[in-house]
Subunit: 511 residues, 2 copies
Amino acid sequence: MQRALSVTRAQNFPDWYQAIVKEADLAEASPTRGCMIIKAWGYGIWELIQQEMDRRIKATGHDNYYFPLLIPMGFIAKEAEHVDGFAKEMAVVTHHRLKNIDGELKPDPEAELTEPMIIRPTSETIIGDAFSRWITSYRDLPVLLNQWANVMRWEMRTRLFLRTAEFLWQEGHTAHASKDEAMDETFLALELYRAFSEEWLAMPVIAGEKPAHERFPGADNTFSIEAMMQDGKALQAGTSHYLGTHFAEAQDIRFTDKDGERKLAHTTSWGTSTRMIGGVIMTHGDDDGLRTPPTIAPKQIVLIPILRDKPEDEAVIAYAKALGEALRGLTAFGLPVRAHVDLKPGKSADKRWDWVRRGAPLILEIGPRDATNGQVSFMRRDALREGDKLKSHAMARDEFVAQAPALLAEIQRAVFAEAHARLHGNIRTDITSYHDLAAYFGSDEDGGGFKGWVRAPWCRPAGAALDAVVEKLKALKLTIRNAPLDQPATFGPCLFTGQPGVEEILIARAY
Amino acid sequence: MQRALSVTRAQNFPDWYQAIVKEADLAEASPTRGCMIIKAWGYGIWELIQQEMDRRIKATGHDNYYFPLLIPMGFIAKEAEHVDGFAKEMAVVTHHRLKNIDGELKPDPEAELTEPMIIRPTSETIIGDAFSRWITSYRDLPVLLNQWANVMRWEMRTRLFLRTAEFLWQEGHTAHASKDEAMDETFLALELYRAFSEEWLAMPVIAGEKPAHERFPGADNTFSIEAMMQDGKALQAGTSHYLGTHFAEAQDIRFTDKDGERKLAHTTSWGTSTRMIGGVIMTHGDDDGLRTPPTIAPKQIVLIPILRDKPEDEAVIAYAKALGEALRGLTAFGLPVRAHVDLKPGKSADKRWDWVRRGAPLILEIGPRDATNGQVSFMRRDALREGDKLKSHAMARDEFVAQAPALLAEIQRAVFAEAHARLHGNIRTDITSYHDLAAYFGSDEDGGGFKGWVRAPWCRPAGAALDAVVEKLKALKLTIRNAPLDQPATFGPCLFTGQPGVEEILIARAY
């Protein structure tokens, strides 16, 4: 069977991922090592993610700010764990001028910075510094802010959207008078991410706490949402951190409390990024391209007039334009329907496949007969084929207009339901020993076959005992994703040691 | 008379500017040299600027993309004029890791980049490189794209919003098959900026062409919009460039035309930035703070309940909340009205002055009597005072709700009309010689008093003759802003040489 992408998921999942990113006009590699160019369809998806995420962040009382891209090196050094965690992968600015030296452009030796600066890998330190100036009294708390920005981490092995040197994200940063309030905020952000991922990206996730060795550098607790990709691997799609008073101590964020005492503020930070688009691709893509959830599809309904350089073309174009106009007057997911009439030069069959690959949720091909009979023929991108063939639906024009918002909502539900069944149908809870774990995952070490996740109790070891567990998992290319928030009342024995379990964790291969 | 800001415009205009930026919660300096922290009210204004600018850019057929922050040094070197124009002020990344060396954090000598990278000062070169890969045939043209991004130019003397090392902007980049099409695009962007500035920022401008020595490095023609600040100085608020085939030659952007010939594409670029916020401040600010045009006010109507820790507080809060809700259900400028009930702890008088300084267009103080009588008392921020006193208007509650969108529109018109009168009433056309020019501007060389602009014919000299003119103007701290698009049929003699004039130019002091 001919598919719209050059590689199928079954043939080679990583190659399929590369193919869809390229062929669906999402992004491409750039001449800047490790950095990507986000193209029109990919950036359009990002804008719709931003718009709704921003709405939810503001609705929970956070204001947007903007802080500098460059951070003086000394700031990074202040929080010891933080610098260990990030120092290995920063872009360092050392000069502020280029100069033509003997015919070659070079950093001007006379323009070397007294103190090098780093491009923000994250902004705790520069924002903490502002907090220390802004916060003097309990009346100044809480401070609730968010930033949309680009950040940079010098990654050696990159994959578009999933791991790039530069990426786009939002980072929430807050300061509170007490641990309780800060923990409430940490959970508020985590729940915001869970709901957003499921409701807006149609990407079901499991929210939970990261084990100690996977914490954000400088955090007391790190929580994440984890989604299951179509190859069974986990993708961390958002994190929320309770930073305790570590950054407050390092940066002197103190306030005079109601009782007149000077106290350290408790801070949090939380972030989601363009990585989510990678998650959307591997959750909803198929062998014909992306199936973009209608909520984040830059064009939800695409109308392709079938033109034959004949006099009736005019009527077809007029019919398509009027239909597009009528659809744009409707509302779906609280926003005007994004309907687009594709009038670019080119063959209509090529256009159809372009929109199939990009994953426009509803694709209409409009011919002279449709215009004459007042009807439409459309494809649902979520259920494109019947057997080998494309499946086309016919409907009276006015009925289609009346049904369009409901159809989009139905597609959103359908792609979510499919992903929900995949996630919740592929978490094994019957593996109770490392031996069984090795037998399950070890049978296919290079990750070619589908393997879901394992949920099992453990004794939450620390120090050398934890290191030993991490090493054992590493041998199977596995990681602990998180300890889901939703825990049972009692636990079986630890998968690794046989000692009494204290919580259940998710074990999986991961991106 | 007591004013809400610590400095008045008349006392010291530059100090007043600094005071308003700080006291209206717009921005502040950061520990990163030359970079600013944009605070909640300032960033809220920027978001509203972005939203509408983005809508207009998309409505004219441009898609948003995102390109890398870092540009390989070799790219910058490709276009000779471009490198001369920008090489002096770039942040250069030379290392990708920090290392603890003898107890001190330093760039790791083993992590030096083979080729240094620069933080984009603008993106012609990296986008041009993509164009060269994307464009092969006339069918691929035009390419019409835009990017929202941060950029960096190593400025030595910085002023918040007006000139900072890092700033936020949009940059449009397009490629066309012919000069005519590219010139049409250049003018389309210029007109978009003019209309946006006047209709959305209520900031009247004059659009025209920059003289040769003020062109963008690598451009054939540069056009600008110029606004007049309250001290008479000009502010360039947006530029649009026809780049000819310079970048196409440097980066091999070629296409096969309909006639089968390989041709160079013609490119354009155009940009506006957070600098516009500086323009808004100096156009609409007064001695009580900013008067934010309603179109870009993050809160258009602010309701301040006057609370006295008494039982009737509850009714006041309920009344304010219901009123806020009713106002948010209305539409102004095509968007839901942004009404905000300020329930933060604190004295209502302090809150009133905070909102006066920020410039919320309508400020309501709501007391128990208002709640009982079903009325409101409001201040219009555009006409805050009558003599020395604050001017308060009373209105029945339902009438206020009915009138609110019209009141916002009226305020928008009023601040525009005031700025329009200032610009068009302060362009002198009666100065016909350098001697007169020197007499007018030379009488107050340090720029303390208000001096408007001069519009006069010139002979558009080139080379050494142009240099001489530039030097003469520099002695008076003057610059040529642009040659307005709107030119008369005939010209008087050149202001500088007495030779026949060929166009009229605007001469002014400038930011």
